[in-house]
């Protein structure tokens, strides 16, 4: 019998979050390949946008794809190539980082990056009484990073919270550790730190701990890394809240795509996973100790 082929194209595990994506994608593939004998899910990772474009060509050159689930490295560069696959009659599911032309996708599953920034900002405005000095660590120059920063800036707009500094730390804990040390040397008074990703938050926390500085009230991240959720559960004073941006969204997307293929349940449209504030009260829902992320 002709198997239906679902290709999953995602970035290589170049940092914690993408590692989570790879983990969940592979798990989904394994489960589905076992459960649905008529479906074959193929997962391919690519270390760069260029490589991902190549991978798309390679995947569609050999066989006809019934569906493609893609988490694009970058939006611009992947738009045309995905369109080419679509033109071959393939069902397209886009995850997280969108394409430039939304008309290409049949299904879109994503987190809300603006909300990640804004909800965190709102929390700080609230807790700091609308006043205080902040430092921010951003990831790498990409749309997602921009959106989070924008959401955050919108969130504090109108308050007296002041961003003292904002620099790239490449979504990397080491770089974040160093950057935080330097922030601490540069600014004698910091009320709160926001790292727009939990990998970076780990480095930030270590630097603060080592500096023994006491005026810093909050150090927040984002993404729902299990170590950070654990802190929220444990009622950590410095990191009492978190915003989710679960890499498991790839699994959601794969299952929905397969449902569309075999389930006689047409699935189309956009699914936006909310990024509500995770607090001590609801943290357990977001805690997956077995996931690598």
């Amino acid at each position: 019998a002709d198997k239906k082929v679902v290709a999953v194209s995602i970035p290589a595990a170049d940092h914690g979050w993408t590692a989570g994506v790879v983990y969940h994608a592979q798990a989904a593939a394994k489960e589905i390949n076992a459960a649905f004998p008529d479906v074959e899910v193929v997962v391919k990772t690519s270390p760069s946008a260029t490589a991902q474009v190549s991978a798309l060509e390679d995947l569609s050159a050999g066989r006809k794809l019934d569906a493609l689930v893609i988490l694009p490295h970058t939006s611009e560069e992947l738009t045309m190539p995905v369109k080419a696959v679509k033109d071959g009659g393939t069902f397209i599911t886009v995850v997280d980082r969108g394409l430039n032309d939304p008309a290409i996708q049949d299904l879109y599953v994503a987190g809300d990056n603006i909300a990640v920034g804004r909800n965190t900002a709102k929390f700080l405005v609230d807790k700091l009484g609308g006043k205080g000095n902040l430092v921010v660590l951003r990831g790498i120059p990409t749309v997602i990073d921009d959106e989070r920063i924008k959401g955050f800036q919108d969130g504090i707009a109108g308050s007296d919270l002041k961003i003292l500094d904002i620099q790239y730390a490449n979504w990397n804990s080491d770089d974040a550790f160093k950057l935080m040390q330097d922030y601490l040397a540069k600014y004698p008074e910091i009320d709160a730190v926001w790292a727009n990703d939990d990998d970076m938050l780990l480095g930030v926390l270590e630097a603060i701990k080592e500096s023994k500085r006491t005026e810093i009230k909050y150090a927040l991240g984002g993404n729902g890394m299990k170590e950070i959720i654990k802190k929220v559960i444990d009622g950590d004073a410095m990191t009492p809240v978190e915003t989710p941006y679960p890499p498991s969204m790839i699994k959601t997307a794969i299952y929905m795509t397969v449902a569309n293929l075999v389930g006689h349940a047409p699935v189309r449209g956009a699914v936006k996973l909310d990024a509500p504030l995770i607090t001590k009260e609801n943290a357990e829902e977001y805690y997956f100790p077995d996931s690598p992320f």
């Binding site: 946008a49 490589a51 060509e57 050999g62 045309m80 120059p141 990409t142 990073d145």
Partner: protein, 330 residues
């Protein structure tokens, strides 16, 4: 003094001779094709091969330039970010001109790309030769500079090409001539011109001499500064040509465009048989090296044996084995 007969002279130098050392990379390529076929017969399908070779065109074109730089005794780590920078400049220029010039802004932009490439190469060349800074460090510095400039130009985001130009520009990557994709034709043309320059012109001789022994070159009246600077300029021009082909494929410049290309480029050159310490350059070997790299990546996608986490390891092993084949064939 009486004339005594000379020991018999050996025959005239033949012009075309087969050189096993040069054949190394091609043997490695062949081996890879066979392995690929065994792993997945689709590997040798015309579509797949044409895709892969088309893709390898960027690295091949840049690596042809790198063959000059390395042959002349230099090194250029900045090529990847230079490619991003030039792509950015080109797109910005084309977008700016599109309203007034229409699709004519495309050839104009290509001209700008070439000028930018030459200028970038000149900067590298001058820092290395006049500043007398170890090429590794000098171009690591400009790598940071070009990368930062593209980030700055794009405000950390992307610089997409104007929609009105997209369709007109598309054929530069996606078009074919007599069934052969345009990037392949362009890279072959670049390689052909380059091998003419490197093997048939004065400049090519000077390049190899500067790389083989700086003193001998100097004592022979060759200006190391000029020779090496020109090599960097050629490198810049090659990066520009690659950027020109690249734009329609991805349609945008981003701060991550071309990241780590330098490693691929140098790898292609070395797999191709050119020694990193300078001397004779092997243009066609370099092209074969670029194709080998792209084939390995392709093989990783087409095969299903390897855990996604281990892809890089398998690639590493294959590269080492390819080098061993190369070495062994000598």
């Amino acid at each position: 003094m009486s004339v005594v007969s000379q020991p018999a002279r050996l025959g005239r130098e033949r012009d075309f001779s087969f050189n096993w050392a040069d054949a190394g990379p091609f043997l490695a390529l062949l081996a890879l094709l066979v392995i690929g076929f065994l792993v997945n017969p689709d590997f040798l399908s015309p579509t797949n091969l044409s895709n892969v070779i088309t893709r390898s065109a960027f690295i091949a074109i840049i690596a042809v330039g790198a063959t000059f730089v390395i042959s002349s005794g230099g090194l250029d780590l900045s090529v990847g970010s230079m490619a991003a920078f030039i792509t950015g400049i080109t797109i910005m220029f084309m977008n700016m001109m599109a309203p007034s010039m229409g699709t004519w802004s495309i050839p104009a932009g290509m001209g700008i790309a070439l000028l930018a490439g030459i200028a970038c190469g000149l900067v590298n060349g001058i820092i290395v030769t006049v500043g007398k800074i170890e090429p590794f460090i000098a171009t690591l510095g400009t790598m940071g500079i070009f990368r930062a400039l593209i980030t700055y130009m794009s405000d950390g985001g992307t610089i997409p090409i104007d929609r009105s130009l997209r369709e007109a520009y598309r054929p530069v990557y996606f078009g074919t001539v007599a069934g052969i994709p345009l990037p392949i034709i362009i890279s072959l043309a670049v390689a052909a011109i380059a091998s003419f320059v490197l093997y048939k012109t004065k400049y090519g001789r000077k390049c190899a001499a500067a790389g083989a022994n700086e003193d001998v070159a100097r004592y022979s009246g060759i200006s190391i500064v000029r020779t090496r600077t020109i090599a960097y300029v050629i490198q810049g021009a090659c990066v520009a040509i690659a950027a020109i082909c690249y734009v329609p494929r991805l349609g945008a410049a981003t701060p991550t465009t071309g990241v780590l290309w330098e490693l691929q480029v140098i790898t292609a050159v070395v797999i191709g048989g050119t020694a990193l310490r300078g001397g004779k350059g092997h243009i066609w070997g370099t092209v074969a090296g670029a194709v080998i790299l792209e084939l390995i990546a392709n093989l990783m996608v087409l095969s299903d044996f390897v855990s996604e986490y281990l892809v890089a390891a398998v690639q590493g092993v294959i590269i080492i084995i390819a080098m061993l084949i190369q070495r062994f064939s000598k």
